[in-house]
Symmetry: C2
Subunit: 395 residues, 2 copies
């Protein structure tokens, strides 16, 4: 075969393997599924006039998130970005600080750092988990930072590296224990971005519960959705109280007066959206078990195909398999866009990983370590249709 024919055959084989799972019909990357009490709860909000800041579903959603994740406190907010913003503020991030952020993540992770007046400092990822590479980061921090008065200072910029924001890519838990060790050693506070990993556990502990604070997202494309929504997780009661206060305009309780004791935010989750979340959370295990079965099915189809491998959960973890993904062997990097073209043409939604944040106009001039692995991952990854509906529910 000519190289051209070889590429063409590879693109066709990959496309066929995907279609073997999705069927020939148009298939979204990730579609929400409302097969429980969604209507009942939302209708109750409308019937009782409680759609906004008052109403029982926000409290209920928070308590149920606590029960599900094992976090002592969950605070429901307007989305994953606002959860990160407030968590970083509560971690003490402010102007003049740097925050370690993977370059391979959705842009919100870095945006939240900017909202605090701080700067993202981009770090590389590793192949097993797609998360921050702890070993490479250790060498980097050893060679570029100094611990001064209990603070990790970037020797180049002179700034304090205040926090690290590991993100659990596509739902797969990062090497969070090793990253936590690193944080301890270098006096860096961990804020965990678990936007993609509700239902993912590392050694039986829920992602988002390792850092001082963790964040969740219930955007429309996530494992469960509230339309738009997010949550802050923490075991620290004082931080939880502050998070609730800051996300609800910092209003001091009073019978009628409007006293606000700091600059707060309007980041609360409306009751209407929380109602949707309560219903969704009731069925999360069904959704995740089908998303896991979907990975098995993809594995079956991709097993005998050379040049590509399915990304599976890291050892010792349970992943929610939020977004299924394949990794092209390096020699097939040039086929990526053809596969994306071919599949999207026939209505099968696929997408590459994010453009590395270090390549985006607003983020190209911030401090960054060598990005060899993240750069390669960004070129080799393709996300596949991942809705739980692709597997029939067992009734």
């Amino acid at each position: 075969m000519s190289p051209f024919e070889e590429t063409e055959e590879f693109v066709r084989d990959v496309t066929s393997s995907i279609v073997a799972v999705t069927g020939g019909e148009a298939t979204a990357l990730h579609e929400p599924e409302f097969d429980g009490n969604e209507w009942n709860y939302v209708k109750e909000c409308i019937d009782t006039n409680f759609v906004s800041s008052a109403g029982k579903y926000v409290d209920r959603f928070e308590r149920e998130l606590e029960a599900y994740t094992g976090a002592r406190h969950a605070i429901a907010v307007s989305n994953g970005t606002s959860a990160l913003h407030i968590s970083l503020l509560l971690a003490g991030v402010g102007p003049g600080d740097e925050v370690l952020v993977p370059a391979l993540t959705f842009v919100a992770t870095a945006n939240a750092v900017i909202y605090c007046g701080a700067e993202p400092h981009f770090v590389d990822s590793e192949l097993d988990s797609l998360g921050i590479d702890p070993e490479k980061l250790r060498s980097y921090l050893e060679s570029t930072t100094t611990l001064i008065a209990g603070q990790c200072r970037n020797r180049v910029s002179g700034k304090v590296i205040r926090a690290m924001v590991p993100m659990h890519t596509f739902g797969h838990p990062s090497k969070i224990r090793e990253l936590l060790d690193l944080c301890m050693e270098f006096s860096i506070t961990m804020v965990e971005d678990a936007a993609e990993s509700l239902g993912s556990f590392y050694s039986n502990k829920h992602t988002g519960t390792f850092g001082l604070l963790g964040t969740l997202s219930f955007n429309g494309n996530k494992t469960i959705t509230t339309g738009g929504g997010g949550a802050i997780l923490t075991d620290d009661s004082n931080l939880a109280r502050k998070a609730k206060h800051l996300t609800t305009t910092a209003k001091v309780p009073h019978k009628w007066r409007y006293i606000h004791d700091e600059v707060g935010y309007n980041y609360r989750l409306p009751n209407l959206n929380a109602a949707l979340g309560c219903a969704q959370l009731e069925n999360i295990e069904s959704k995740i078990s089908r998303k896991r079965a979907l990975s098995e099915l993809y594995q079956e189809k991709f097993n005998n195909l050379n040049g590509v491998s399915l990304i599976r959960e890291p050892t010792g973890c349970r992943s929610n398999y939020w977004l299924q993904a394949i990794l092209l062997n390096p020699q097939f990097i040039s086929s990526r866009d053809q596969i994306l073209e071919r599949t999207n043409e026939i209505g099968i939604s696929t997408r590459p990983a994010w453009d590395l944040l270090t390549t985006l106009k607003p983020y190209k001039d911030f401090p960054s370590m060598d990005m060899a692995q993240a750069d390669e991952l960004a070129k080799r990854v393709i996300n596949l249709p991942s809705s739980p509906q692709l597997i029939k529910a067992k009734k």
Copy 2:
């Protein structure tokens, strides 16, 4: 009568006049009313899986807001605070700037200024409209600012006064033409906070359409609600495009790539909430006509009571009468808290105006003009139950 007996009689009379309108039952300050297509539209979102960023209701809500307000462009966002934040950014407000803000407003008006890295500069209100006093402000600006290179500079702080944010208090239009003249004369950009005044017109032009940008709120306590939501209004197509871009993570359109060309925000309104808004907007005129009738009814009850007057719409304006309010004569200021106590005790929700922002811990050290009138208003105003349901709908 002793002064004590006189006060007691006044408190009793005011309370009776309110109860004569609300009836003896527990009455909220402002309750949403869902008597139209709310459930149909929301159910459609759930049935079709479009609850989040995709779906037709966001577009529809925006087009209908444009038709209703007469603004060329409406951009739906997560709430009134985020609408103000983005509008101020688009008005060029940034670090080192000052923004003129009434001290008599909800704290969000000032918070949005802080989010931009700028400082609020507090200004006084006037009695007719409860909005910024244009005459007093003119004298103040004349005596404290200098126009340098086309910019209004505060001679004390040396900072540029970049913008003014008039707010239409309780739905009553401010003296917006005079304020606009002032803005022109002093080279200050107007961003109008119309959070409370959807459905309020000044000389037949909708509030929020006078400034370069205007903002609306659809919080649960507003004339119409989306659970939580807001909108940006502007006649400028370029600003409208930027507003949509900035509120949707500044993502550049692409078939599959995630390219973001500036630091954006996650401020979009979910489709589920927009669906509620579309249904609410269909019935806005019925709600407002009943809120106006409610003002007539309060007027009837308060007409013959000495020491207190009902706040009515300013001349030449149509007010939505979002929150009904009475103004105590100065000699009865000391009765305010007793009236609040008495009414709330029997389940009739009343509240004072906001504590002046200049008295709040986060805002007490910012520049401020003399607050004589706002200070008096804050002490004399009581808001009364204002839901349209207090007047029976004409079928």
